[in-house]
């Protein structure tokens, strides 16, 4: 009897590779990939423009002067190119804003997540989020025409353009961002963690402060980072209400231009393309970008450090 040689059995048609389906899947994957890369490319494009334009600026102005001089007057006859006054303005207004937004935003988040009844939460949250929809230019005039006069009643020496009023209103503007993101983080803490705390005889408040908040730390930090980025990058409020005069000061009772306010001021003026003044806004923009980038990195590190593992 002849032995039949071993052979691969024939593959039935149903099990054969489906070339058409694989092709379509591949196309879909590529489309998705491009959508995902779009934001990345735009970011890289922005960085490219910032760097090339700013490098023209740094051919004329030394980096040392840029980083150490305490005067910023690129549009004057006697030009100085020290970024410090703009940085101090940005940091001061942001600091005031965060002093308002972080405590109130966190407390609001704790209330909404842990104390408010379902009904209250569903009616308070939309109102809070309505604040996000108000155009920032409205907040700017609100500061100039309402908040600053109010502050001047308390302190008559306060100039019309000051960082305190701008910072306070900016803080109010940021509250909903912090409250909303922090509340989501706290809501995400699993119920069994809370039950463990209540079962030990803890009160609602003890549970919120000692268990839920630490468990949500990473998300709460993310909320703060978002708030910081908003504060550092905020433009209209400070451009309208904090003043346009660069001045190296950390005193919120004075007026001072921020990086963003300076960029608005120059971008709306009629400086010739390619002039040093024109290029200076890219140098300032780069500092702003690096500042935000730095906060984001710090935030990322903090979030990793406190990543939730429940």
């Amino acid at each position: 009897m002849a032995i039949t040689p071993l052979q691969d059995p024939p593959i039935s048609k149903r099990l054969a590779k489906n070339i058409k389906r694989n092709f379509i899947e591949r196309i879909i994957e590529i489309i998705l990939l491009f959508a995902a890369l779009a934001a990345t490319f735009i970011t890289l494009g922005i960085v490219y423009i910032l760097v090339t334009e700013a490098s023209g600026f740094f051919r004329e102005v030394s980096v040392i002067e840029f980083l150490t001089s305490r005067q910023w007057s690129p549009l004057f006859e006697d030009a100085h190119y020290g970024i410090l006054p703009l940085v101090s303005g940005t940091l001061t207004t942001s600091f005031v804003a965060l002093m308002i937004a972080i405590p109130i935003g966190t407390i609001a988040a704790i209330y909404l997540s842990e104390f408010a009844s379902h009904k209250t939460r569903e009616s308070v949250k939309p109102i809070l989020e309505l604040l996000v929809g108000v155009p920032t230019v409205v907040f700017g005039y609100f500061t100039l025409l309402f908040v600053t006069p109010l502050l001047q009643k308390l302190n008559p020496d306060l100039p019309t353009f000051n960082m305190l009023g701008a910072g306070i209103v900016m803080g109010v503007m940021i509250i909903p961002y912090i409250a909303s993101v922090a509340e989501d983080a706290m809501k995400a803490v699993p119920m069994h963690m809370r039950e463990g705390s209540y079962a030990m005889g803890a009160t609602k408040f003890q549970t919120a402060i000692r268990v839920v908040t630490p468990a949500a730390t990473s998300g709460i930090i993310a909320a703060y980072i978002l708030g910081i980025s908003r504060a550092v990058g905020e433009t209209m409020v400070v451009a309208i209400a904090a003043g346009q005069q660069p001045s190296f000061t950390f005193n919120p009772l004075e007026g001072a231009a921020t990086i963003t306010a300076y960029i608005v001021q120059v971008a709306m003026g009629d400086l010739p393309h390619g002039s040093l003044g024109y290029q200076s806004i890219f140098a300032a923009g780069m500092v702003l970008f690096l500042l935000t980038f730095l906060f984001n990195i710090l935030g990322h590190m903090a979030r990793k450090r406190f990543a939730e593992r429940y």
Binding site: S117, E195, A199, G201, R210, V211, T217
Partner: protein
């Protein structure tokens, strides 16, 4: 079994329980919890055994709309745990609980055990130190963690986390400890550890444990209650339930005819 002195530590009397959606989850349930004994609640999923357990420390109060009817009396003072004027926080200080899934807090091992003392306002560091050590020893965890008390509790294994939760519950000297399927998320070795631990703990306190594992009930408990569809079908000494149950339904369940 030496049962020369058998005290009732707590007893449920004609307990009905309604969830917020109106479901009647417990129907006229009565049960004694004997002092220094382990009482096991068995029954198929959804029979109300966890619901019943969670009445003892008023966990249902955390969710609005739930309603109790009837009594759970806590002896020797005869307090009705479910009474209108009774503070659930006070109840939870006397009756502690260990959950199905280990749920340590996002804190150090030390702070997890100290939690109950902290919420009670204990300030003295030496008193907290002593209690933490005592509780960790009571939960046979001390030797494994004494050199790293400041480590995050999440770094422990699942079985160690569950023993940590037991230590946490022990630290405040509860009179009764409730266990809600304490080993269902654990491997067999960790399960044995927890079972041995529970058997040792009954010298100090009374234990009520929900388990869906009948062998576990047979191994560790002194008394067993069989529940079905929100009703208490049979309650007796564990030996009796597993060898000679009086009710046909109980026999069907423990012999595996259903459930």
């Amino acid at each position: 079994m030496s049962e020369n002195k058998l005290n009732i530590k707590a007893e449920a009397k004609n307990l009905n329980f309604f969830y917020a959606n109106g479901t009647k989850a417990l129907k006229n349930v009565s049960l004694p919890v004997y002092e220094n004994k382990i009482t096991a609640l068995i029954g198929p999923s959804g029979c109300g055994k966890s619901t019943f357990l969670r009445c003892f420390n008023r966990m249902h109060d955390l969710y609005p709309g739930n309603r109790y009817e009837g009594q759970i009396l806590l002896h020797p003072d005869n307090t009705n745990v479910l009474g209108k004027g009774v503070d659930p926080i006070e109840v939870r200080m006397r009756i502690s609980m260990v959950f199905q899934k280990p749920n340590p807090f996002p804190k150090s091992i030390y702070e997890n055990v100290a939690y109950g003392l902290r919420v009670r306002g204990e300030r003295s560091k030496s008193a907290v130190d002593d209690k933490v050590e005592e509780a960790l020893k009571g939960a046979s965890l001390w030797n494994e963690v004494k050199s790293r008390l400041q480590d995050l509790a999440f770094n422990l294994s699942g079985g160690q986390q569950q023993r940590l939760c037991i230590a946490r519950a022990l630290a405040t000297d509860p009179e009764i400890m409730l266990f809600d399927e304490p080993t269902s998320a654990l491997d067999p070795i960790a399960t044995v550890n927890i079972e041995e631990l529970m058997s040792g703990l009954k010298n100090k306190l009374s234990i009520l444990v929900v388990t869906h594992n009948m062998q576990q009930a047979a191994r560790i408990s002194d008394y067993t209650a069989y529940m079905y569809l929100g009703e208490m079908i049979e309650f007796d000494a564990t030996d009796k339930i597993f060898t000679n149950p009086s009710r046909k339904e109980t026999e069907d369940y423990i012999t595996g005819k259903f459930g």
